[in-house]
Amino acid sequence: MTAGTKRRPKRLLAVAGAAALSLIALTACTGTGSSDKPAAVDGGGIGTAKKHVKITMMSNDAFAQQWQDQLVPEFNKEFPYIDVTIDAVPYTELLAKGLLNGTDPDPQYDLITLDDPWTPQLANAGVLMDLKNDAKQWTDKGYDWADFNAAPLASSEWDGKQYGVPLRSNMLLMFYNKALYAKAGLAEPTPELTWDQYLKEAPSLVQDTDGDGKVDSWAVGLTWMRGVLSPPVWQAVLNSNGGALFDKDMKPTFDTKAGIAALQTQVDLLKYAPPGATNYNYTEPLDAFRQGKVASIFTWGSAYKSAAVDPAVTTLTPDQVGIQTMPAGSDGASTHRGIWSGSVFKNSAHPEAAWTFLQWMTSKKGEVWTTNTLGSFPARKSTLASTPSQAWLAPVFTTIQSAYDVADKGQMWRPRSPESNAIQEILADQTSAAVQGQTSAKDALAKATDQINELLKK
């Protein structure tokens, strides 16, 4: 027997031992993840000078830093003993990370920012606090829930319970370049503009603006790229013509003449868009608009500041850029809801401090501050009725209030279901296929209907 042969059994033993250790670790680590430890009955308090309370929020990376740098110090003027850390998390990871934290017996986070369609899934998993009931004891008497517009507040409501409050309200809106409309000899759009009128005017907005014989400006930019941001556009068109994605029993109702026409509208708009527009996500149409390459864009309202106000990123000014709801269908104007809400994790060790922070942000006073200082869009009727300190917000307030009313009337939002993400992925795939011409709008919606029915059956 050679030395190598003698060593072989020892090696095999080492490998087997390591595998056994892994199996033991696996068994130890699996099983229920929930804690039997009840939430703190007294809410954990809001800290004292000698003993601060520390809370952590997981937030979308687009605005986390701004909140940490500006919002938290302002909050601490009123609540100096609550130390708030805001962690930036990429959008695509927030939902999974939120669920993981919510089921962790030793959670790292107390708060989460939720995108519009996530509430049902997280609420169903039992990880969010019902703010109107569980946090009632810590809610200020002057908080005034009724002051919130219905559409943004409803985005974090599920099954009759309120799981969040709107922190940054966003609606799908239309921005237009007044100069390019004038150059094309067209009157500026108004909120009464219909989709038919818009499509009639679009060819005129494909123009040569510098007289060199080459087209250098186009009519429109929006999200056409495969992804969950592309279906809201045709969904808004469908809603504006009185259609809906689903009925009250969650049966698809978009595979109709109106639905096909709506999707076809989004496909047809490509004819009046710059080259490469089939790959437009969120930033590309915005860049094209800022560069004066497109006369109008359909995008989320929060982009208005970077499109028309912030001199660091745009040469356009609020005087040059109009903002309004998207064109109207037979049932009125169109829009789509995209609200960032704040929620408290049920397993938070400091729910009182966490809710105090959210409450301050979304109180009448706090919301006025965040709107005027950070430029985020408010959800309260009182804020929208007030005069903003920054002049550019005045037409934005009018548009946002109008958009809330339109959204509330037409129920213009992404599917409300624990399967919302999966539904949006199916719709995104078929929207993209139709946009590319791989399938007709009719076949795309028929396939989406079949796939969604199959999904909801499980």
Binding site: R11, A14, V15, G17, A18, A19, L21, S22, L23, A25, L26, C29, T30, G31, T32, G33, S34, T92, E93, L95, A96, L99, L100, T103, D104, Q121, N124, A125, G126, V127, M225, R226, G227, P274, P275, G276, T278, N279, N281, E284, D287, A288, K293, N421, A422, E425, D429, S432, A433, V435, Q436, Q438, T439
Partner: protein, 279 residues
């Protein structure tokens, strides 16, 4: 030996076994753990899933286009750089830069470079009167663009291995060929390539294992579109797991992909050994 084995088992065996467990179970989001055993239910659902089937086909198409191109280009460039010419050292050093650029950054930058409105490629082609090309505008062009970006990133790696292999070739065989009057093509075809055969095969296997993980470049450029034209299997599994939180189904898909990859890797390694034995 034992500490290394334990570490390897911890970072390799544990995630693998846990994924296997989830793939045979129902995953409860409320407790974030696998619960009841469901047998092959997740595997059946995965194999019946049309989008999963399509993603396997898309991945196959990408591999068939990308791998041979990268091997041929890598060895070809290494062969050219092996010859003596001025500035060879500088070019060789610069040539390695794409290899150290993160894939997602490569995708993002190339997306800007290829933009028909703003991109430098469009501007350059415009100088010759060529109209702007919509590189991501159709199913076929998107796949070609992804292959181009991945090739730009991966060829330096292949060229690096090939250059080392070329340097290790015995000089006397080339001298003998020269004495016999062989031209550069005859030398390449009858001397270099047969001797490089095993290295080419081994490089193919290493590159195959890297290419089959294609994900970041597509995420940064097309997000799997247009339609599902570039929806490779890793991107689809990632979306199923981390966007839709379908951990059971995505675990089953991941195991299926692992099995397919292992089988094909074994076939390639067998082929490589046979080639080595023949030479």
């Amino acid at each position: 030996m034992l500490p290394a084995t334990v570490l390897l088992a911890a970072v390799l065996a544990y995630p693998l076994l846990y994924t296997l467990q989830i793939s045979f179970s129902k995953f409860d989001l409320a407790t974030f753990s696998p619960t009841e055993w469901v047998g092959l239910e997740n595997y059946t659902a995965a194999l019946k899933n049309e989008t999963f089937q399509n993603s396997l086909v898309v991945t196959g198409i990408y591999l068939v286009l990308a791998l041979p191109l990268q091997i041929v280009l890598g060895f070809g460039i290494a062969y050219l750089m092996n010859a003596e010419w001025r500035g060879r050292g500088v070019v060789r050093a610069l040539f390695l830069i794409p290899m150290v650029v993160a894939p997602v950054v490569s995708g993002g930058i190339w997306k800007m470079i290829l933009d028909p409105l703003w991109g430098v490629v469009g501007w350059f082609l415009g100088l010759f009167g060529i109209p702007a090309i919509d590189w991501f505008g159709s199913a076929s062009m998107s796949m070609i663009s992804v292959v181009i970006i991945d090739t730009w990133r991966s060829v330096p790696f292949v060229a690096l291995i090939a250059a080392a292999a070329l340097l290790a070739l015995p000089k006397d065989v080339f001298e003998a060929a020269k004495v016999d009057g062989a031209n550069w093509w005859q030398t390449l075809w009858s001397v270099s390539l047969p001797m490089l055969g095993p290295i080419i095969a081994a490089t193919f296997v290493v590159r195959w294992l890297g290419a089959v993980k294609m994900f970041d470049i597509i995420l940064a450029t097309t997000n799997g579109g247009p339609g599902e034209a570039t929806n490779v299997v890793n991107l689809f599994i990632y979306q199923q797991a981390f966007r839709l939180l379908k951990f059971s189904e995505s675990s089953a898909m991941a195991v299926i992909v692992l099995v397919i990859t292992m089988i094909l890797t074994f076939v390639f390694l067998l082929g490589s050994k046979k080639l080595e034995d023949r030479l």
